[in-house]
Subunit: 333 residues, 2 copies
């Protein structure tokens, strides 16, 4: 675990060149040139504001990560955080059925933060944006009290068809997922257990989730009735679709076996199922579709039905209401 | 100074109900209903992302304020900060010649921050957005280490004509201003001197700047060749236009007398001139126009010419190069 050992010494704050030794222009000189070029930029950052080519409807969302709350220096590099904060914002755009087009990025940091961390972080941001064909529209830099590092991203996107809301699932639909389940949570557990080598793919997913962005507009075009990205776990996020749509979603435990199997050797069956049902920060897409052919790569994991008499909208696992507070503490009501 | 006295006791952190006693849903219940309705929202906040009606080009900018760095609890209420952070973002949209249409707002705060401050702050944000006809497109809430309160806003806008950049000023143009000069800085000095009653309008401008938003697209339509908002002072911001446009701007000290006169009785002539030349956070609009009729309310304060042989692009005051580091320390080179 070279990363963790390196980070235990606190490289963000103690190594290299502190930000306080640079003026803003010098710092921007390390940041701006790293960002990918974009044909969608009518006016690039540097004036009062940037100007982006848009269509008649623009998707907008924002998400912020804070050191110590959303990540630990010991477990994630600056580049990892750049990848992750972009991914989680772009996933929200894709989950509306949209194509991400631009981001704005704000860094608020302790002046003791090292320039090297910022350069590494900027590289991660730029890589994630370039991979998604997304322009960097601007940002802001600000100093913060000791120990504070915070990155806030706003993402914009293009909507070519109708937006796919959480509220459109209909009885008779199937629930399907595109992408992995439980890997990010498994990665977090391996980091906590100092055992990253047991499943590096899981740790990589935790550090740099890769939402299946193109599948969002693909699902919209294929008639998805509801969609979101799995940020708080299959049960919680599936429950959101169910409640917003006033339906019951029956998860099929059998259909989840392939996802559990990936993790069971490393974590054991119970923890593996826990990760699959309740693991967050995965940013795979979860959607409901009318029965019939699904777009490529989507796998059916449940069915949508109308609530029975007196039954609340929500999500069931093999017919049971499951309140998740960690697999060992599942409460059956 | 009832405000300052109240604030010396630290109402943000010590009065009322701390945020830590609410869950996110309860907290959002205090925030979301305050925001103004908008016809431009295709999908309101609450799903993965909001969807805004846009045209073929969208302006985007972001600006963050941090407690202790950008404001003091003793001098600005939560509502003041809401007004101010919205105003400074919308001014950037107007300064491109655009019409602000939407904002996203992120609050990152110490869990000890009082709910009452957040409610007051939200009211200020909502008032400023409603006054400008701007929709709130979403936001994020996050906790932060002790003592940290930070508000980050991203503003979007519509561009109906060509964007007005900083780089378009041409020899022969006039430099004109729309709005006040020096009031915000004067207000800050009065707060520092515990003498707010001497010019309440200045203190109000410092707390709640009111950029002349409609004048931005108006100037664009009237043929403005360069524009920005006065955020760092007339000299620094005027210098930015001059350097970006490779021109010399001759400020006319005589034309600034009316702005100085507003402040001179209270601050004395030297400090008053200092505020007018170097005072930031005013968010008035500064633009260059071809000679001829100006849109209503713009006042000519200088002229644009080509640099002489060996002369650098920049701004002059009555023919002198002025490097401002406080009026008493002006350095003539």
């Amino acid at each position: 675990m070279p990363n963790a050992r390196r980070s235990e010494r606190g490289p963000m704050m103690t190594g290299g060149t502190p930000l306080r030794s640079l003026d803003e222009e010098e710092l921007l000189g390390h940041i701006i040139p790293a960002f990918p070029p974009s044909d969608d930029l009518v006016v690039a950052p540097g004036d009062d504001a940037a100007v982006l080519r848009t269509s008649d409807r623009t998707i907008a969302t924002t998400d912020t990560v804070v050191l110590g709350r959303d990540w630990l220096d010991a477990w994630s590099s600056g580049a990892d955080i750049g990848h992750k904060v972009v991914a989680q914002n772009l996933a929200d755009v894709a989950a509306m059925g949209g194509v991400p087009t631009g981001v704005l990025v704000t860094l608020v940091a302790d002046p003791e933060l090292s320039l090297e961390w910022v350069i590494d972080h900027t590289r991660g941001l730029a890589e994630a944006c370039a991979a998604a064909g997304v322009a960097v529209l601007g940002g802001d830099l600000s100093s913060a009290p000791a120990g504070v590092v915070m990155v806030s991203v706003t993402a914009l996107g293009r909507l070519d068809g109708a937006p796919v809301l959480r509220s459109g699932a209909r009885p008779g639909d199937v629930l399907a997922v595109k992408g992995s389940l439980g890997l990010s949570d498994a990665g977090l557990r391996l980091l906590q257990a100092d055992a990253v080598e047991r499943l590096p793919e899981a740790v990589q997913t935790h550090r740099r989730p890769r939402p299946p962005l193109a599948a969002g507009p693909g699902a919209a075009a294929a008639g998805a009735t509801a969609m979101l990205d799995v940020s708080d776990g299959l049960l919680r996020d599936g429950g959101r679709i169910a409640r917003a749509s006033h339906v019951v979603i029956d998860l099929d435990l059998e259909a989840l076996v392939p996802y559990v199997d990936v993790l069971a050797d490393v974590l054991g069956a119970e923890q593996a199922l826990d990760c699959v049902l309740a693991g967050g920060e995965e940013h795979s897409l979860l959607a409901t579709f009318p029965p019939g052919d699904l777009p490529e790569g989507w796998r059916v994991i449940g069915r949508v039905r109308a609530p029975g008499d007196g039954e609340a909208a929500g999500i069931l696992v093999d017919g049971r209401v499951v309140t998740h507070t960690g697999w060992d503490h599942f409460r059956t009501t």
